[in-house]
């Protein structure tokens, strides 16, 4: 009985790994770097995680996980409340609909897909936050954040892929 209970808990933890690892990435992205990167905008780590996990393990990373992840960063941030959740949900919906048509998930294609999707989402984010503050925000910080996010995507995807290959390979997961 006790073993059964332990199995259930460990099963839940393993199933929550995509969300837990994404939360860890988010916390890491808040570490002060003592570099100019602190000011010229950081990468959109959350969007990278949503893209990766929705593409590969949407069974373990559903819409509620996306919502929790977005709310988590919204609460920590002083940005317009809800903006991250909104962007993550849009990313999720788009990837869920597009991934049906991607039969061969090779990395280069997914990287290009991420860069295209991110471009659209950065524009939506810029537009929504400009609307919130009733003034146009400078576009260049969005642009810089976009390029740095695209450049760092292989690193984040690589770590996530390692987590997926090591912990989430059993047939029953």
């Amino acid at each position: 009985m006790q073993e059964n209970w332990k199995e259930i808990v460990s099963g839940w933890i393993v199933k929550s790994l995509p969300l837990l690892f994404s939360l860890l990435w988010m916390i890491l992205s808040l570490i002060p770097l003592r570099s100019d990167l602190n000011l010229v905008a950081r990468p959109m780590i959350g969007l990278m995680c949503v893209y990766f996990w929705t593409m590969y393990r949407s069974d373990l990373f559903g819409v509620f996980s996306v919502f929790v992840l977005g709310m988590f960063f919204d609460i920590l941030s002083i940005a317009p409340f809800g903006i991250y959740t909104l962007l993550y949900l849009i990313m999720y919906v788009t990837v869920i609909n597009v991934s049906k048509y991607i039969t061969e998930k090779n990395f280069e294609i997914l990287w290009v897909g991420f860069s295209l999707l991110l471009a659209g989402l950065m524009f939506v984010g810029w537009f929504m936050s400009s609307l919130y503050y009733t003034q146009f925000l400078p576009f260049k910080s969005f642009l810089f954040s976009y390029f740095i996010s695209v450049a760092l995507y292989p690193l984040v995807a690589g770590v996530n892929a390692w987590v997926m290959n090591v912990f989430l390979q059993d047939d029953d997961i």
Binding site: I27, L28, L30, I31, P32, L33, R34, S35, D36, L37, N38, L39, V40, A41, R42, M44, V63, F64, F67, G70, F72, I75, L76, S77, I78, A79, P80, F81, G82, I83, Y84, T85, L86, L89, Y92, V93, M122, G125, W126, S129, Y132, Y133, L137, P138, K140, S141, F142, F144, S145
Partner: protein, 286 residues
């Protein structure tokens, strides 16, 4: 009896299926509702945010340790190269400071005598706490810092945050042990300032860009690159004369200011309470 149970069970599963189907639309609606709620300065969202911050920031503090050690080592190795030159510069600076200190003491005595003669009511003495930066947000949506306050419970929203070189922002939210500081370049940051020499007043406004902008200057105001910008004291929270930065460019009527301290390399900040009442509150009471 059995039939009745089956009916309820069917209803529940049907409800669950409907929720699952419409979850995405529902969550989108929730987000929009929360965005609108926040626009009306809802205290609930602020309180929730502070509570979550209290839980997450200690985790960040632990995670930051290895990164800080590496950065400290890098800084130390870099400092070794210039330590001799720096030593000579410091000796020279120390000599100048001893002279300046003596002059300041004489001026302080003279100032006190003159203030007493004029029956001048000075500003209350400032209380301050020095806090370590534990996390930094720098996405295109917001620029802020989280600092550790420990048990010091006298920090309030709106108080001024300083580095050793000048103003860096103001307190945006306060928890039990942590405070969130909106930096000068954050879009919500607005500080009443003036040019130190010409006393021309304006408003230093964050734009979510690297440098904040100097706005609402009087027509024909003479502002040049290199002019020192200090707080004007208008608004009540900041006293007069705190260094803020220098004018870095004046182009087509847009004046940008380089903050006195590099906002991307802050390790410790001072949160100062000048005990000045908010004029809006004072006049609002009458």
């Amino acid at each position: 009896m059995v039939k009745r149970r089956r009916v309820i069970f069917l209803h529940l599963s049907h409800l669950r299926r409907t929720i699952k189907k419409s979850a995405i639309a529902l969550l989108f609606m929730v987000v929009f509702a929360l965005m609108l709620l926040n626009k009306t300065d809802n205290a609930l969202i602020e309180k929730t945010s502070v509570t979550v911050e209290e839980i997450v920031t200690p985790i960040t503090k632990v995670l930051v340790l290895p990164a800080t050690t590496v950065l400290d080592l890098y800084d130390y190795l870099r400092s070794l190269q210039k330590i001799d030159r720096e030593n000579q510069e410091l000796r020279e600076e120390n000599r100048n400071l001893i002279i300046a200190n003596a002059q300041n003491k004489a001026l302080a005595i003279e100032n006190k005598l003159l203030a007493d003669m004029l029956n001048y009511i000075g500003l209350p003495e400032a209380e301050f706490v020095t806090a370590k930066v534990v996390s930094q947000e720098g996405t295109p949506f917001a620029y802020s810092l989280t600092v550790y306050l420990g048990d010091y419970g006298k920090v309030n929203k709106g108080q001024v945050a300083l580095s050793d070189k000048g103003v860096i922002g103001r307190v945006e939210a306060v928890g039990k042990r942590y405070a969130k500081i909106a930096l000068l370049n954050n879009i919500n940051s607005k500080i009443s300032v003036m040019a130190e020499n010409t006393r021309v007043r304006g408003m230093l406004v964050g734009k979510n860009d690297i440098l904040p902008e100097l706005k609402f200057l009087p027509l024909g105001a003479d502002v040049k690159v290199g002019d020192k910008i200090v707080t004007s004291g208008i608004g009540g929270v900041f006293p007069v004369g705190l260094p803020v930065g220098k004018v870095s460019s004046v182009e087509k009527g847009v004046v940008t200011v380089m903050p006195a301290h590099d906002l991307s390399r802050l390790e410790y900040v001072m949160i100062v309470n000048y005990g000045l009442p908010d004029p809006a509150d004072v006049f609002g009471e009458e």
